[in-house]
C-alpha cells in the first residue's frame, strides 16, 4: 500500500519539489547568521534569492501539474501514517503569494523599514547582525506560512502555526522601542493562550478519531465529530488559530502591534499571515466541521469583529492604527463570508480575503512613510501625488465602489447572506452595510486631508515603497478590467476548496481504486 501510488514517476518527481518552498527558506534562515559573518553581501542577497526561487518553483509546479489537486507524502510514508502536503489551486495560490509578498515587503536596509528599524545608531557590525537576524526571521515566517498553506495534517499545521508565531514575535519586537516590546509581550500572551486552546482542541480530535490527518479526519468526521464534543473542539481551535487571523475577540493585540512594528512587517502580518490562518480555519470548517454550529460561531464572531473593528477605526488617531482596525473589520467580513458555506460562501470569502491581501498590504506599504498621526498627513498629496492617488484607489476599493474588485467581493458576500436569509444572516448583512458607511467616512476624511493645503507636508515616499504600492494598485486595476477571468479562477478554486469528497479521494486514491 505504501509504494502503490497510482501516479507516474515523473509526477512524483515534480510533486516532490513541493517541499522546496518550505525547506529552502528554512534552510536559508538557519544559514543566515553564519553567512553574515563570512560575507555581508552574500547574506543580504540570500533572502531575496531564495524567495525568487520559491516563487519560481511554485509557479512552475502550478503550470505543469495543472489544477487537479495532488498530495506529496513526506519521506514516502503514505497517509495516514506519514505526514503529507496537499496542494490544490488555492493552496498553490497562497504558496505562491507568500514568497511574492515577502519579496515585495522585504525589510530592506536602505530606507529603514518603518517605525524604528534604523533609529538606533550602532556599530556596523551590530547593524549587520541585526539585518541578518531580521532576514532570518522573515525567511522563517515564509517557511512557516507556506507550510500552513500546504500541510494536509493537523499536527504539521500546528507546528507551522507556532513557527509563524515565533517568527512574527521576533519581527515585531525588532524595532526595539519600548512600545513595540510592550505590544509584542501582549501579542505573545494572547498567542500563547490561543495555542494552548488550539492544542486542547487538537487533542480532543485525536481522542475522538485517533488521527490528525485531515483527509482521514474528513472521512471520520460525520460519525465521530458531528456532536457537541466535535463542536467544542472546533471552538477551541477556532480561538487558537483565530489569534493570527484577527478573529474577534482574540485580536486585541492587532492595533498596538501594527502601530509599533515596522510597517512592512505589519503589511506581511495583516496581509499574508492573517490570510493563511484564515485558510487553516476554512480547511477545518470545510473538511471536518460541516455542522451548522461551527459556521454560526464563525458568523457571530465575524460580525462582532466587523462592528468593533470599523467603529474603532473611526476614532483612530494615527495611520497604521487606522489600518489595523480596518483590517480587523475586513477579516470580520472574511469570516462572515466563509460562514455562509457552499460555493458562493467560499467564493465570497476568497474574494474578500485576496482583495484584502492586496489592498491592505499596499496601504501598509504607504504607511512606511506615513507612519505618524493622521493630522500630520495634511497636504501629503503635494509631496507624494502618486501615493495619495493610490490611497484613494485603495480606499475606494475597500469601501466597495463599483466597478473596483472590492465592490464585487462585498456584493458576493451580501448576496450570499441574502440568499440564506436567516435572521442572523440579515443581521450580519445590515451590520456590514452599516459599517461600510462608517468606513467610507473615516477613509475619505483621510483622503480629503491628504489633499489639503499645508505648507509643511510629510516627506515623500521612498521609491521602493511607492513602487510596490503602485504595482499592487495596477494588479487591482487589472483585476477590475479582467473581472470575468478572475471570477472564473476564483470560482474554480472555491469549488475545489469546498470539495470534501475530492480531498479525501486525493489523499486516499487507493481507497477508491480498491473499490473498483
Amino acid at each position: 500500500m505504501i509504494s502503490d501510488l497510482a501516479v507516474p514517476n515523473l509526477f512524483v518527481a515534480q510533486a516532490g519539489q513541493l517541499v522546496l518552498p518550505v525547506v529552502l527558506p528554512l534552510l536559508a534562515a538557519f544559514l543566515m547568521q553564519p553567512l553574515a559573518r563570512v560575507s555581508t553581501a552574500l547574506a543580504r542577497g540570500l533572502g531575496p534569492l531564495v524567495l525568487i526561487l520559491c516563487a519560481w518553483i511554485t509557479a512552475q509546479l502550478w503550470i505543469q501539474l495543472g489544477d487537479a489537486p495532488f498530495t506529496l507524502a513526506i519521506g514516502g510514508f503514505a497517509p495516514p501514517l506519514g505526514i503529507l502536503f496537499y496542494a490544490d489551486g488555492i493552496a498553490l495560490l497562497f504558496a505562491l503569494a507568500v514568497p511574492v509578498f515577502a519579496l515585495l515587503f522585504w525589510p530592506g536596509s536602505e530606507s529603514g523599514g518603518g517605525a524604528g528599524a534604523d533609529s538606533r545608531p550602532g556599530s556596523d557590525q551590530a547593524d549587520r547582525d541585526q539585518a541578518a537576524r531580521r532576514d532570518a526571521l522573515v525567511l522563517l515566517l515564509v517557511a512557516a506560512t507556506t507550510g500552513l498553506a500546504l500541510s494536509g495534517d493537523l499536527f504539521n499545521l500546528y507546528v507551522f502555526y507556532e513557527l509563524a508565531a515565533v517568527a512574527s514575535f521576533g519581527l515585531v519586537a525588532l524595532s526595539g522601542t519600548g512600545r513595540a516590546q510592550v505590544a509584542t509581550f501582549r501579542y505573545l500572551m494572547i498567542s500563547a493562550f490561543g495555542s494552548v486552546l488550539a492544542l486542547a482542541g487538537i487533542a480532543i480530535l485525536y481522542m475522538q478519531t485517533g488521527t490528525l490527518n485531515l483527509g482521514q479526519l474528513a472521512q471520520l468526521a460525520p460519525e465521530t465529530l458531528n456532536n457537541p464534543i466535535g463542536s467544542a473542539a472546533f471552538a477551541l481551535m477556532l480561538i487558537g488559530f483565530g489569534v493570527k487571523a484577527e478573529l474577534f475577540p482574540v485580536n486585541t493585540w492587532v492595533p498596538e502591534v501594527y502601530a509599533g512594528a515596522p510597517a512592512r512587517v505589519s503589511a506581511l502580518l495583516a496581509g499574508l499571515v492573517s490570510k493563511l490562518a484564515v485558510l487553516v480555519i476554512v480547511r477545518l470548517l470545510v473538511l471536518i466541521f460541516p455542522q451548522p454550529e461551527a459556521a454560526q460561531m464563525l458568523l457571530v464572531l465575524g460580525v462582532l469583529g466587523v462592528l468593533t473593528g470599523e467603529f474603532a477605526a473611526w476614532r483612530a488617531k494615527d495611520f497604521p492604527r487606522m489600518l489595523a482596525f480596518s483590517s480587523i473589520g475586513q477579516l470580520g467580513i472574511v469570516f462572515v463570508a466563509f460562514s455562509i458555506g457552499g460555493e458562493i460562501g467560499l467564493l465570497a470569502g476568497l474574494a474578500v480575503a485576496l482583495h484584502h491581501l492586496i489592498v491592505k498590504s499596499a496601504l501598509f506599504g504607504l504607511a512606511v512613510r506615513w507612519n505618524g498621526s493622521l493630522e500630520a498627513l495634511a497636504g501629503a498629496a503635494r509631496t507624494s501625488p502618486l501615493g495619495a492617488a493610490l490611497f484613494v484607489l485603495f480606499a475606494l476599493s475597500l469601501v466597495g465602489v463599483p466597478p473596483l474588485p472590492g465592490f464585487w467581493a462585498k456584493l458576493t458576500v451580501i448576496v450570499g447572506l441574502a440568499e440564506r436569509g436567516t435572521p442572523l444572516d440579515i443581521t450580519a448583512l445590515m451590520s456590514i452595510l452599516l459599517v461600510t458607511a462608517v468606513e467610507a467616512s473615516y477613509l475619505f476624511r483621510v483622503a480629503i486631508r491628504l489633499y489639503q493645503d499645508n505648507p509643511d507636508p510629510v516627506a515623500r515616499h521612498a521609491r521602493r515603497d511607492l513602487g510596490v504600492s503602485a504595482l499592487l494598485g495596477a494588479v487591482l486595476v487589472a483585476a477590475t478590467l479582467g473581472l470575468r477571468p478572475v471570477a472564473d479562477v476564483l470560482g474554480a478554486g472555491a469549488a475545489q476548496l469546498g470539495d470534501r469528497a475530492g480531498y479525501i479521494e486525493t489523499v486516499f486514491p487507493s481507497h477508491v481504486a480498491g473499490k473498483d
Binding site: 500572551m189 494572547i190 493562550f193 490561543g194 486552546l197 457537541p228 467544542a232 472546533f234 471552538a235 477551541l236 480561538i239 475577540p249 482574540v250 485580536n251 486585541t252 493585540w253 492587532v254 492595533p255 454550529e293 460561531m297 464572531l301 462592528l307 468593533t308 473593528g309 467603529f311 474603532a312 473611526w314 476614532r315 483612530a316 482596525f325 458562493i344 475606494l396 465602489v401 463599483p402 466597478p403 465592490f407 464585487w408 456584493l411 458576493t412 451580501i414 448576496v415 441574502a418 440568499e419 436569509g421 448583512l429 445590515m430 452595510l433 452599516l434 461600510t436 458607511a437 462608517v438 467610507a440 467616512s441 475619505f444 476624511r445 480629503i448 489633499y451 489639503q452 493645503d453 473581472l483
Partner: protein
C-alpha cells in the same frame, strides 16, 4: 453597436480626452464640442418617441444579469444632463478657466470631474435592472464627490459631509435591493415588477424606507437636506451650476423608477400609514411639501448668494416630487417639466452669481450692491432667472409651477396647495433679496471699476436666459417630451398645445398670457411717453431716504439684516432641529467608536480568550 453605445462611448471619450489634454488651453472648447456631439447622438437614439434603445453591452455577475437601455424617461433626464454639461463647459471654457488656473487650481481636474459626472449620469439613466441601477447610482455619487471636492478647503469639508450622507444612502439602497432579492430571487425589472404585488404592506414600507430613503438623500428631501447647500455652493462656478441644474435630479429619477414605475401611485394610495388617516402617497407628498417650505425659508436667511440659491435647489426638488405624487396628467407633467425649467433656471442663476464673483471676488450679499450699472447683462440674466425661479410669468418656471398648483387644486388637496404657495412666497422674498443686494441699491466704492462679465461667460448665460423666456412663452415643444415620458411611465399624458395645456376646467395659454402682459407694458409705455416721458438721470449718490439726503459716506444699503421685521416674526421658528439630529447621530457613532476602542485598549487580553472559550463551549454543549 447601437446608438446608445455610441452615445456612452463618446461620453467616455470625453472623459479620456479631458484626462489626457485637460491641461491645455483648448480643453475647455474641446469639451464644449464633445458635449454638443453627445447631445446630437442622444437626439439620434430616438428613445423619446420610439421603442427603448438597448445597449449591446451586458454583464452577468453571480447569475445576475445587467443590461442598459434608454427609454423616454432616460432620454429626458439625459437631455438635461448633457445640456447642462454643454452650457457649464462653455461657461468654463474661456476666461473662467484661465482665472481658475491662476488661482492655483487644476482646470484639468475640473474638466475631468465634469465629464465624469456626465458619463456616470448617462450610465445611471440607462440602467436596465436594479443591480445596474445601484452601480450607476454609486458611480454618480462618487463622481459628484469628485466635482465637489476639487475646490479644496471648505469644499472638501462639505464634500465629506455629502459623502457620508450619500454613501449611507447607498448602503440603505443595497439593503433594500437585497430585501427584494430575497423575496423575488431576481433583480430584473420585469421579474421584480411581476412579483412586487405579492409583497406585504410591511415589506413595501421597509422598501420605501430603505430604497426611497437612499434615493431621497441625493434629492435632499427632508430630513436629508443638510448636506446639499454647502456642497453645491462651494463647488467651483460652472461645477456648481451643473450640480444645481441636474445632479440632485438623479435622486428624482431613481425615485420615479421606484415610486411610479415599480410600485405605482395606486399601490402607494392603498397603503395606510398606521394610526393616521394618511396614505403612503400623502405622506410622501407632505415630505415633499415640507421640503419645499423648510429649505426655502432657510435660504431666506442666507447671506451668501451661492448658498441662497443652493438652498432653493433643495426646495424646488420638493415641487417636482409633489407634482408627481398628485399623479394626474397635469400634476405629474408639472413635476417632470419642473425638472427641465428649474434646471435651466438654476444653471443661469448660478452662472450669473459666479460671474459677479468673478468680477468682484465675493458672493457675500452684504458686500455687494448697485452692480446693475456695471453689469447690466448679468443683471438681465439674473432677473430672468429669478422670475422663473419664483414661478412668475412669462418665464419657464411659471408654467411648471402653475401646473403643479393647478393639479393640487383640481385634485382637492388644498392644504398641500397652501404649503406650495407658502414655499413660493419664501422664494419670492429671497430672490428679491438676491437681486436687490447684488444689483440694486448703491454701488460700493471698491466696485466702481467693475466691468461686465467676460463674453465667454456671458454667452452661455444669455443662451440659457433666452431658453428660459422661449420655453416660458411657447412651452409646447418641451411639453411634448414630458408627454412622451408620461406615456412611457404609464401615466396619463398631458394634453399640450404650443402655448400651454388644454383643459376643459381651465387650461393655460402662455401666448395669450404673454401677449396681454406685453400689451399691459405697452399701454404703460404709451401713457408714460404720451405724457412727455419726463425722466432725469442722476448720479447714484445723489438720492435720499426717509427725507434725508445721503452723502457719499452714508450709503443707501439695506442688505445687512435684510427683512429684519419678518425675521423678528418668524426668527424663533428656526430651531435647527435637523442639525441637532445630525449631531446626535454623529455623537452616537463617536460613542460607539470610543467603546470599541476601549475594548481594544483593555489590558487583560487573556481574559477575553478564556471568556470566549468558555462562552463558545457553553454554547456548543447547550
Amino acid at each position: 453597436m447601437t446608438s446608445l453605445d455610441h452615445l456612452v462611448l463618446v461620453s467616455a471619450l470625453t472623459l479620456a480626452l479631458m484626462l489626457l489634454f485637460g491641461r491645455m488651453r483648448i480643453a475647455g472648447r474641446l469639451a464644449v464640442v464633445l458635449y454638443a456631439v453627445q447631445f446630437l447622438l442622444l437626439m439620434q437614439t430616438g428613445a423619446l418617441l420610439g421603442e427603448p434603445v438597448a445597449s449591446s453591452l451586458t454583464l452577468s455577475v453571480l447569475d445576475l444579469q445587467m443590461h442598459w437601455r434608454y427609454d423616454a424617461l432616460s432620454w429626458f433626464f439625459a437631455m438635461i444632463t448633457i445640456g447642462a454639461g454643454f452650457f457649464c463647459a462653455w461657461y468654463a471654457a474661456g476666461v473662467w478657466q484661465e482665472r481658475y488656473r491662476e488661482e492655483g487650481h487644476s482646470p484639468r481636474l475640473f474638466h475631468v470631474a465634469l465629464a465624469a459626472n456626465v458619463l456616470t449620469m448617462l450610465i445611471l439613466l440607462g440602467s436596465g435592472d436594479l443591480l445596474s441601477l445601484f452601480i450607476g447610482w454609486e458611480l454618480v455619487s462618487w463622481a459628484s464627490f469628485l466635482l465637489m471636492a476639487v475646490g479644496g478647503g471648505p469644499a472638501g469639508r462639505a464634500a465629506l459631509r455629502y459623502l457620508v450622507y450619500a454613501f449611507s444612502g447607498g448602503m440603505a439602497i443595497l439593503a433594500g435591493l437585497m430585501l427584494i432579492y430575497t423575496q423575488t430571487g431576481s433583480l430584473d425589472y420585469a421579474r421584480v415588477l411581476s412579483l412586487l404585488g405579492e409583497l406585504s404592506d410591511g415589506q413595501v414600507w421597509l422598501l420605501l424606507l430603505l430604497i426611497g430613503g437612499g434615493f431621497a438623500v441625493k434629492m435632499g428631501l427632508l430630513p436629508f437636506h443638510l448636506w446639499q447647500a454647502a456642497a453645491y455652493a462651494e463647488t467651483p462656478g460652472p461645477g456648481s451650476s451643473f450640480l444645481g441644474a441636474i445632479s440632485a435630479r438623479m435622486g428624482l429619477y431613481a425615485l420615479i423608477m421606484l415610486l411610479v414605475a415599480m410600485l405605482g401611485i395606486g399601490r402607494l394610495t392603498a397603503m395606510e400609514v398606521p394610526f393616521t388617516f394618511l396614505s403612503a402617497r400623502d405622506l410622501i407628498a407632505w415630505i415633499a411639501a415640507l421640503t419645499v417650505i423648510i429649505p426655502t425659508y432657510i435660504a431666506l436667511q442666507q447671506h451668501d448668494a451661492r448658498y441662497l440659491l443652493a438652498w432653493h435647489g433643495i426646495g424646488q426638488g420638493g415641487y417636482m416630487l409633489l407634482g408627481l405624487m398628485v399623479g394626474n396628467a397635469v400634476g405629474s407633467a408639472g413635476g417632470l417639466f419642473h425638472v427641465f425649467t428649474y434646471g435651466i433656471t438654476q444653471a443661469a442663476l448660478l452662472m450669473a452669481v459666479f460671474a459677479v464673483v468673478h468680477r468682484t471676488g465675493t458672493a457675500d450679499l452684504n458686500k455687494l450692491g448697485g452692480l446693475v450699472a456695471r453689469m447690466p447683462l448679468t443683471f438681465l440674466v439674473l432677473l430672468f432667472g429669478i422670475i422663473s425661479l419664483a414661478g412668475l410669468p412669462p418665464m419657464a418656471g411659471f408654467v411648471s409651477k402653475w401646473m403643479v398648483y393647478r393639479s393640487l387644486v383640481a385634485e382637492g388637496m388644498p392644504l398641500l396647495f397652501v404649503a406650495a404657495v407658502v414655499g413660493t412666497l419664501g422664494t419670492i422674498l429671497s430672490v428679491y433679496k438676491l437681486i436687490h443686494n447684488i444689483f440694486l441699491g448703491q454701488l460700493r466704492i471698491e466696485h466702481e471699476q467693475v466691468r461686465e462679465a467676460p463674453l465667454s461667460m456671458l454667452l452661455p448665460m444669455l443662451g440659457l436666459s433666452t431658453l428660459i423666456f422661449l420655453v416660458g412663452v411657447t412651452p409646447g415643444p418641451a411639453l411634448s417630451w414630458v408627454a412622451a415620458v408620461q406615456a412611457s411611465l404609464g401615466l396619463p399624458p398631458v394634453p399640450y398645445t404650443l402655448g400651454g395645456i388644454e383643459d376643459p376646467r381651465g387650461g393655460l395659454d402662455m401666448l395669450w398670457l404673454v401677449g396681454i402682459l406685453m400689451a399691459g407694458f405697452g399701454v404703460g409705455a404709451l401713457i408714460f411717453f404720451g405724457l412727455g416721458g419726463r425722466s432725469k438721470r442722476v448720479h447714484q449718490l445723489d438720492n435720499y431716504a426717509g427725507g434725508h439726503f445721503l452723502t457719499a459716506d452714508v450709503r443707501y444699503q439695506y442688505s445687512d439684516n435684510f427683512y429684519a421685521g419678518l425675521m423678528h416674526l418668524i426668527g424663533p421658528w428656526y430651531r435647527g432641529a435637523f442639525l441637532w439630529l445630525e449631531k446626535a447621530l454623529t455623537a452616537t457613532v463617536a460613542f460607539l467608536s470610543a467603546v470599541m476602542n476601549g475594548f481594544y485598549r483593555y489590558a487583560q487580553p487573556a481574559l477575553f480568550v478564556l471568556a470566549t472559550a468558555v462562552a463558545l463551549l457553553a454554547l456548543t454543549t447547550a
